[in-house]
Symmetry: C3
Subunit: 266 residues, 3 copies
């Protein structure tokens, strides 16, 4: 069960960037409702309208926040359409955002206990736009929750949340088809396979093909890599394997993009 | 009258970007004076030295912050010249910054009640540079104010603030000349006309000309738009009409820039 | 001696950028240990793995933070190698980070009182990766310190910290060889000479050579400069001399880069 804590942090994850006033406005709305709210930025650098990118960042960061944390996620290309605003309570956390899959993998990973369609407009801002529900619905709901408002007051239960599954490795004989789940700012592609899964499948003798390039080295850390510009695999901090180049960008050098598929042979 | 609240938020709006230490230094200065200060970033992405951009972001965000909020605004191309540092109290807020117009539209919109030229150097940092008054004057003043220091101690009344007016639509028979007030990170140009003004002038049959391109569709939300790459108008979250392209950048596609003028015909 | 203050701010300085979840994860880790932690972002825009850039930002910002502040610095190209995680107590501050020089100039400037190799894993996260010690070691240590944990519990004293010295001007007769210490977001190169040192050496008649361009003007502020596009020197806010161009980027115009060397003749 979620540990109740006083004034839990409200963690913001959006694709708003930091140039405009959008993120600041979310914070103003929250502080107007709960002047003592503890607001934390997870990231506002989700690729515009990229639900999968938002879901990955949320899932990889979630477990480092204290129980009771309220994640307010605004990656919302369907704002103003029929997509539902939802609130999900899991074993340890709350998630507020659009029902478009962005909350799904994190919520599943932490075990969904209750999900609501947010219907109680008394807890929204007075005027609801059709273009900025982060401001008008999600931030106010997060603020009310952080003040101790009982979640059952906020909407009606639903059991048909929109799912989003990260791709899993596809086994074909002695090969696995892997997918790039994420690309970080350093140009390190994250693959959809953990260190343990990798070792179980491939051991130390493997070949990962990316176009015409082949990767066959594995290191424990970036610093351990000896040669510059030779790409290698490393166990990334998210638990997944990453491709890296010492002092360079693997993405640039290998021309790899998010969601690319690569062939791993053992 | 401004509702007095304990330890009101200090909201920072600057053109400093986030690469250097400038924003962090403002926060350090504030926390040295008021260790319990609640500091909020509105944006540090104002286009360098662009007073109009800063004024737009401030005006569009202001109303979402709680009464008593102290806005500390540093868009200050005239730093070190004779331009005055000022503090403005309005019906609900305080504004600290340079007297160059950046505070003007927001302050006017919220009704100016008192304006001071900041002259009391006892409330500044000890050493005043000629290049960084955000650090040396504006942040310290905001911090002292947030602790309850009476504003009349901080300077001398002035009644001749430097004005800055946003352009208004210019009517010429059946046409309106509109101006692009702002460009957001998605490439949606904001026009200087509200939904109500637009409807009153043009109804549903209109033509907005941008170079050789014509826009004649209007939607309630981004998601409602059916075709990709067909530009349309939408009521933006700031209250003004915006030009948008579904899943794209209207600015790039139409080659529109901030402050461009477009012709609306009914 | 460091003034003890309750719940001192934890100031984060990293090269993580703001696109990924890394900075948010640091904050989650800190708040899990100390739910009341006051976390401040100094900058996350240090050039990737650029220890000198991080050291410059830290040194120039440090003095504006209150006594007792805990600086948590993660510019850590050697993560996973033998480089030590350290905690340094100086006259006024605490510094947590890798022992690679990034903390050195700031710590020296504020007088080192004690330095520890962080060895007590009970104060780390349970699972220590070989790629993200910011999350696994530095953030937890900063959080424990901020709660009042006695620093001597956290590791063993060391006296052989890795040094990093900023370059000093090199005198050769009537010339000084200066070095560009930093490049800010406006394209203003910071030189390794203070206003006082500059005046003592050169007075008002000088020539600073950058490639084929010569600079011979000096102003007290950016606004004082009269002509556009004519580069000049100005006393920057960090205390060092800067090269500037009114309404432009000196770096672009003069093709100057960080660490370039320029010849000053009197």
């Amino acid at each position: 069960m979620t540990r109740p804590i006083a004034n839990p942090p409200i963690v913001l994850l959006t694709d708003f960037g930091l140039q405009d006033a959008f993120v600041g406005i979310l914070k103003g709305v929250i502080l107007t409702i709960n002047p003592k709210a503890a607001i934390v930025d997870l990231s506002h650098g989700v690729s515009p309208q990229d639900i999968g990118h938002g879901a990955f960042l949320l899932t990889s960061a979630m477990g480092y926040f204290p129980g009771g944390t309220i994640f307010c996620v605004v990656v919302d290309p369907g704002v103003g359409s029929e997509r539902r605003p939802v609130l999900i309570r899991t074993k340890d956390y709350y998630f507020v955002g659009p029902d478009n899959g962005v909350l799904w993998p994190a919520a599943q990973k932490n075990q969904v206990e209750q999900a609501l369609h947010l219907t109680r407009t008394a807890y929204f801002l007075k005027n609801i736009s059709s273009t900025f529900h982060g401001r008008d619905i999600f931030a106010p709901i997060a603020a009310h929750l952080s003040q101790g408002t009982c979640m059952t007051k906020l909407g009606i239960p639903v059991s048909d949340l929109v799912p989003l599954e990260f791709p899993v490795p596809e086994k074909q004989g002695n090969t696995l088809i892997l997918t790039v789940l994420n690309m970080d700012i350093y140009g390190n592609p994250t693959l959809n396979i953990t260190w343990d899964e990798f070792k179980a499948f491939a051991g130390n003798a493997f070949c990962l093909e990316s176009g015409t390039r082949k990767i066959s080295r594995i290191y424990r850390s970036y610093a351990q890599a000896q040669e510059d510009l030779e790409p290698f695999l490393v166990a990334g901090s998210s638990g997944y394997m990453e491709i890296a180049v010492k002092n360079g960008s693997a993405a640039d050098q290998l021309k790899i993009h998010c969601r690319d598929r690569l062939i791993l042979t053992r």
